[in-house]
């Protein structure tokens, strides 16, 4: 593992999720599916073999953190998926 520090080990064991998050990932994956694919591509195993978490950290901005293994990619959803998701949440709540 090249150029490892304690903090980089913690936050970006593989990939550059922390840095990507800090930059807002405007130039990163443009859809949730792409983000998930990017995370999976960077992982050691096939996409289907590991659990994946998608965390909507700010529904207002459409920012989604996709995590698989020790990796995290933060993306924005331009296709209104989060809006639909929150509408779904509203339906559940009512």
């Amino acid at each position: 593992m090249a150029n490892v520090t304690r903090r980089t080990f913690l936050s970006t064991t593989v990939g550059a999720a922390g840095g990507v998050a800090a930059m807002g990932l405007i130039a990163g994956p443009s859809t949730l599916v792409e983000a998930a694919q990017n995370v999976a591509d960077a992982s050691d195993g096939p996409m289907s073999s590991e659990p994946m978490t998608a965390y909507v950290r700010d529904a207002a901005t459409g920012e989604i953190a996709v995590m698989v293994g020790h990796r995290e990619v933060v993306t924005k959803d331009p296709h209104n998926s989060i809006h639909n998701l929150t509408r779904g949440t509203h339906v559940f709540a009512s």
């Binding site: 593992m1 903090r7 913690l10 970006t12 978490t53 020790h70």
Partner: protein, 459 residues
Amino acid sequence: MSSHREAPGISKDPVADSTDLYAFTSPDHPDTVTLIANYIPLEGPDGGPNFYSFGDDVLYEITVTNGGSVADAITYQFAFTTEYTDPNTFLYNTGPISSLTSASWNVRQFYSVTRIKGGKAEVLATKLACPPVNVGVRSTPNYAALARAAVHPLDGGWVFAGQRREGFYVDLGSIFDLGALRPFQEAHLIPLPAVGGIDSTKHLNVHTIAIQVPKTSLTKGGELPTDPTSADSVIGVYTTASRRKSTVLDSGGRTTDVGPWVQVSRLGMPLINEVVIPIGTKDFWNSTEPKNDAQFVANYAHPELAGLLPVLYPGVFPNLAAYTAARVDLEAILLTGIPSGIIPGFQNSTGSTPADLLRLNMAIPPASSPNLNGILGGDLAGFPNGRRVFDDVATIEIRAIAGVTIPLVDPSFTPDGAAGAVSDFSAAQFSSGAVPGNGRYIDHFPYLGTPLNGFDNPS
């Protein structure tokens, strides 16, 4: 105290809650340093059937800075796994545990050690066995032998991870009842007759991660430190615990952890997040790095406890009450280390960057007659030059906050008479040996005593 349940978030997560950190020149092997990070606060010896253990889902770390710097130089990582010999019994053990390979021991824990140094991560050991907990006279009749078998060689030194006796002593019930110190409570705002302190942790255990490392492995250039005035003799130490960013409580009792590690606990100097950092900031503090502690300097410059003492003990601390300047003495002792020229023959400075680190000048030899009050007691080998398992850090820090260390940086200040006397235990309790008490420590690695067994404790 000293960092037991010190923040709202971590108080609900005991296995990741760092309680105490120690760093000292090993008295029996003075060419080595012993680093001890304790976790799981207020651990009852009788806590079965699922006795205490490290978290398999927690990454534990001990990080060392060197060369008089606050930059991370070496990190030791500890990752644990639990195995069941027989998952079809509810029992921790099905008979006496006579060895670490005993078939009657059902719940076993193992760990790996990884070192990050010079930009490289190296696995130093895998599948190291922890000892069992000290269940009782029938299950673990020769516990000391089990613990000895769990001391493993590691990279020129030794490593141990498992249950030990709590070494930190304090009167929790009194101090958190409006800052009362029982031996001095007749002078409290709400007075009661003075009595000796109650040792709240005397009958408790803790989980210990301990490594004994050659000093030459910790210095920047690999040399053996012999000059106390050299920056290369000084290391800074802190411990952290981290959890995965996402945890899903799934159906069927399954838990899924995903994502990068996120730091949830840290500890350098004792009592900092406990009494210096305000409650609304404690969880944030636990997530941050020592090198970024400049953001917390105001809490050290005007500590809340220094303002409370004159209020809680009316008329006892008039000089402290009148002192309005920033507490540069505390900033030096707690955040940057003590520079040369303050205490003859001593320094443990890591430069001007504020950082909560337990700083050890490795060139100071072990004391032949240690003083529980460390440097305040004239013992340069004790706290705050690192911290030994028996150092009375609660008394030392209360006295420092009460003003006894102000003259180190401001000779015009005269400490109040009480500042050099306050403690949560009486002088008689110390002189009789009742505090810290027998059995709490041993004279060799890992230095914390044999854990109390669950059959006889609490008694």
